[in-house]
Symmetry: C3
Subunit: 357 residues, 3 copies
């Protein structure tokens, strides 16, 4: 991990009038650049093997410049190219995944948010420790496949994007479905209900709104992930029948659909966000900026959270120009723009080092 004071040293040499917002050209980059431009920042796209021609189609989101690297290692070895441009990097899910947590931690470039959060988010065990100790209800975990007595979701720990995850209703189905070539897996209660991906933003410096700790919690938007092939598989027949034809459900994220939740559940939505933030300060100095609780609402209107993402999620992409929630805070505010606004506010308040690391 780059020590905090190294980042502060770099920041102290930055020209606050010339800050450049940079991110990897994938995932939520369009939204991040779009928001940064609206807030008046310079923007820099970073690419390794990403095709970036399509950014031309979106002049209000296209970064001012695109810098291409040969590998993710160069984010480490060529970091001076970035700091020379007064770059603040905005991490997103693909950025962290492609870099790998280890390399990301070593990058000597200021990044928005906390780097401490990475190791807590990395494993399902530490996520569970954090969330459950914050009072969040999660799907039960089943240690031994022989104990499966109700529907479970089996997730391979190494799997990318949901391929190979499967649902089993008993040990027999588990044995039928399991791929023994995969190193390890997790078995988790399959909670029946509807999914809501809750997009929060926590500002440690905002002094109004829904106060949490010394800062303020916002709800930006909500989506439902769209997963191939499970979301349309049912049209062909029952999963039981399809298995006979060698077809199995998979959970690969392909897109997102906007949703809203019952207003009477919003109090709980905020309480969960508040607990997660408070606990993050106790555990590792605090989660900063956007995060997402991936939840299921049961037919008893209880929440079960199956995952936390500690940065901007792709589910915010339907809301480039605001959502029915953020419009009640400030019209036209996307999560991407909110990040840029936070950096702008932090610079104005002389608190930039509180929101980057």
């Amino acid at each position: 991990m780059v020590p905090k004071n190294r980042i502060q040293e770099i920041l102290s040499e930055y020209d606050p009038e010339e800050i450049t917002i940079a991110t990897l050209c994938s995932h939520t980059a369009l939204q991040i650049f779009h928001g940064a431009k609206k807030e008046g920042f310079k923007t820099l796209g970073l690419a390794v093997n990403q095709n970036t021609k399509f950014y031309d189609a979106f002049p209000l989101a296209k970064p001012d410049e695109i810098l291409r690297f040969n590998s993710y290692d160069e984010f480490i070895t060529k970091s001076k190219e970035l700091t020379d441009r007064n770059v603040i990097i905005i991490p997103h899910g693909s950025f962290v995944e492609y870099m790998g947590t280890k390399r990301f931690e070593q990058m000597e470039v200021p990044t928005f948010g906390s780097r401490q959060v990475l190791k807590w988010e990395e494993s399902r065990d530490s996520q569970r420790e954090w969330l459950e100790s914050a009072g969040i209800s999660m799907p039960k975990r089943i240690a031994d496949a022989k104990d499966i007595s109700e529907p479970v979701l089996v997730k391979y720990n190494g799997a990318k994007g949901g391929r190979g995850f499967f649902i089993a209703k008993d040990f027999m189905e588990f044995k039928m479905g399991i791929d023994l070539s995969e190193e390890s897996y997790t078995i988790q209660e399959y909670v029946l209900g509807t999914r809501y991906y809750l997009h929060y933003f926590y500002s440690p410096i905002k002094q109004s709104g829904y106060r949490v700790g010394n800062g303020s919690l916002e709800l930006m938007s909500m989506d439902r992930r769209d997963e191939s092939n499970i979301d349309e598989l049912y049209k062909l027949g029952s999963t039981e029948e399809l298995k006979k034809h060698g077809m199995f459900p998979s959970l690969v994220v392909t897109g997102n659909i906007p949703v809203v939740i019952r207003e009477s559940l919003l109090a709980k939505v905020f309480e969960m966000g508040e607990s997660v933030i408070n606990r993050s300060y106790e555990l590792f100095g605090g989660l900063i900026g956007p995060f997402c609780l991936e939840s299921i609402v049961t037919d008893h209107l209880d929440f079960k959270v199956f995952e936390i993402s500690c940065r901007i999620v792709a589910g915010t992409n339907p809301f480039t120009s605001g959502s029915s929630y953020s419009d009640m805070t400030e019209p036209g505010m996307s999560t991407g723009r909110r990040i840029a606004r936070e950096i702008k506010d932090a610079i104005a308040a002389g608190k930039l080092s509180e929101v980057v690391s």
Copy 2:
């Protein structure tokens, strides 16, 4: 029922420059306050046991003041606290449900819309009488479970929010599913098709647009209700298979998804709204303001309406800042804001007593 002249007496003492829009802090309250503030009204949140801290997160929707009561009875006994503030109450589904129709009728505070509609909306029988006599096609009702010969939906009359409703394809399945501890139930044809919740607004005072009677009909937006656990149950397997594992579908509303309908069906959408309004004037002096027809479109493009809601529905919540429909009437118009606009227009025209009761 509070007599009309009692309400008019109260209204006559109101200062038209100081009207306060109030509603119960749940359901669609954020949207109602957001709209009222946009139209320049004072706003008052009413709460019994609702947690209202999260309203802090939405400064553009947070009511100017929140008034807490110990019970719903106090809306009756302490009504002077409200009328002293020149309050007009906006009813929504949860408000009416928690108060109960009887108490709601007795409340000596001006409420937006017609109170006569409450008793027509209250029972499935009177809803059916109203809608069918207006020429609206509804799912058939089956009087005797032994006559079930095609898929039916069995709804308990006392059930809250859809829990315990179930689908049966024949008498056998009915017997398997029925909970005999429930007092009464309704059996209704299960219509195959896609659901559209049509959000209308009827103004008795607007003199332009799509004219109905002496007023004007608008289409604000459409949604699809998101129901737990039925909307994601299919991922686990067929309902037949799941029953073996003791898992049954339920229909508890958890949220809403925005939709639009084929443009060629809009003529029929308006004709249905028009008939419902015209018939409401014949039956009880007229439905005023927002209402929703909850419909299914079959694969022959026929509408079947399974319910009417006679006030703002939660399905309007995705449209805080307007919808693809209302944007063609006036940009940025939500149903919540439309209510406030109607009150404003009525005040300006000296017709407030025509839109409140």
Copy 3:
């Protein structure tokens, strides 16, 4: 086909200050008129047997005038009524379907876009020739039903709007499902995945953005079609079980839901659009204006395109006021408005004959 020089002759007599945008009152007409009015055009609604009263409800989209014809033949015989008004017709799916390709080709009124495209779009064979030769991957076609060895979709060539299409998993199911009274059908691999209807706009005259040929390609929005009864059928039980009750899935489009796609798939989205445009110039002089690739994304994140629509599609209707994509090109830009903008830009550049035919 009306010769190009006949259309140019008509255009040469038009007053460029008095151009009127006209379309048939159905499908996407509200959006087209709404957009045309925003861009400052006169608007004319065309109706044969369409009920148009509901246009009154949308003053920002209601055409300035509505002209009623007794039959679709009158679009041919009374074309002078249109050209006298300096009309440019915007074709949409229903317009072309109701007129029929033959009559549409003969109409001596300038229409937006290319008429050459009609014969390429008309049959599944020529669509496949065009798309596959452009490098687009499509679902396999099965020539002989006896060869069905995996799920297929059987489409009747004469069927309207998806009724009667069915899914079969083997020859047995094909025999059970096939309606021998229908003249002809196509059997096509049923691709498992999630559907994305990609709404593009190609301008042959725009000189910036994502350059393709001499013009520029834009991504306007995306939707998922909502089909009755298949989208809600699963709630009742498995398709296998439902067949026993005489209930079969159908694919009749009733509406649309907004979606977004993974950002990492956008490069491919643009490459596909680019190939289709480039190939269209090689084959028939070019596709102009809005078009839609109707695609499935598999769990390997591959695209399979099952159809192309070569004009504005109803899936753009959720985006009357812009989408999360078009907002990054120009805020508030719908496909309907983009068409009007293209005509306006073409007039200003003296290139109207390049975008109408």
